[in-house]
């Protein structure tokens, strides 16, 4: 049963990400009560939206969150170039086969790497999402007739019950 859901389609920029964080943190607080992992859940949304903002070829995204009983799901859909879409898919595949220790090493190498991606990305977003406890990241890419790709990134994160309410 869905407790809360939102779907947005439209332009996204740095300030728009802040708007989403304000809304999402408020919604999580009202639905789940005060807890210590609300910022962590919002950070997953920030990373997805950041990817959408950097790589969407028309600056538009479709972004959805769904809060169910024991699970929060984020889904981002954007149109991207072939090279960006394939890089996203390959990156996710690489991360999935790593264990926690390998992800930690990859994170430290990447954050200390002098070079940024061609669009200014640090290459840390998906890595951070997995390191911080997302259950899974599912990436699908679909080729369009105009040679662009639609990328769909879906993240599931568990909503563990808090031991005791924070006051």
């Amino acid at each position: 049963m869905i407790d809360n859901a939102l779907r947005y389609y439209g332009k996204i920029d740095e300030g728009g990400i802040v708007d989403f964080v304000d809304l999402l943190s408020g919604v999580l607080y009202r639905n789940l009560g005060p807890r210590k992992d609300i910022r962590k859940m919002c950070s997953f949304a920030i990373e997805l939206l950041d990817n959408g903002m950097r790589y969407s070829i028309d600056s538009r995204v479709s972004f959805t969150w769904t809060i169910e009983k024991d699970r929060l799901t984020f889904e981002l859909e954007n149109q991207a170039s072939e090279s960006d879409a394939l890089r996203l898919q390959n990156h996710a595949r690489e991360l999935h086969v790593m264990d926690d220790a390998q992800r930690k090493v990859a994170f430290q190498e990447q954050i200390n790497c002098d070079q940024l991606g061609v669009k200014g990305g640090a290459g840390l977003g998906l890595l951070q999402i997995l390191r911080k406890g997302a259950l899974s990241i599912d990436i699908q890419i679909h080729k369009q007739t105009d040679q662009t790709f639609v990328c769909v990134s879906r993240i599931h994160t568990p909503l563990q019950k808090t031991e005791k309410p924070l006051v």
Partner: protein, 122 residues
């Protein structure tokens, strides 16, 4: 002295010469985050004479993207360089509500820098 005024998606960067507090405060969801923090490093390099005393670098960043995390690490590495050169500089990190995201970030920075980070719990 305001080094960089806040925007909706970038923190304010300011140095108070009376209290010797260098403060970075606000949201950081920048696309060009590394460039932003690099300019703060540039200010420190140019104005190092102002920072010869005991300076507290205070980070209060409720939310930041991972590109900002890279920029913040670069800034902290510059602060560490000062500490290694015997400046009495310190780093403090604001944590609201014992939040996991902020505590994990502080721990990661401490781990990568090898410098102690003072947590300010609010």
């Amino acid at each position: 002295m305001i080094i960089s005024p806040p925007t909706k998606s970038s923190p304010s960067v300011a140095f108070d010469e009376d209290t010797n507090i260098f403060k970075i405060e606000g949201m950081s969801t920048l696309v060009n985050a590394v460039e932003f923090y690099d300019s703060a490093i540039g200010w420190i390099n140019t104005n190092e004479m102002l920072l010869k005393g005991s300076v507290a670098f205070h980070f209060h960043l409720p939310y930041f993207n991972s590109a900002s995390m890279k920029g913040i690490l670069m800034l902290m590495q510059r602060i560490k360089k000062g500490i290694d050169n015997d400046y009495t500089w310190s780093i403090s990190w604001n944590v609201e509500d014992d939040d996991e995201f902020l505590l994990d970030a502080a721990e990661s920075f401490e781990d990568m820098l090898g410098v102690s980070i003072h947590l300010i719990r609010t």
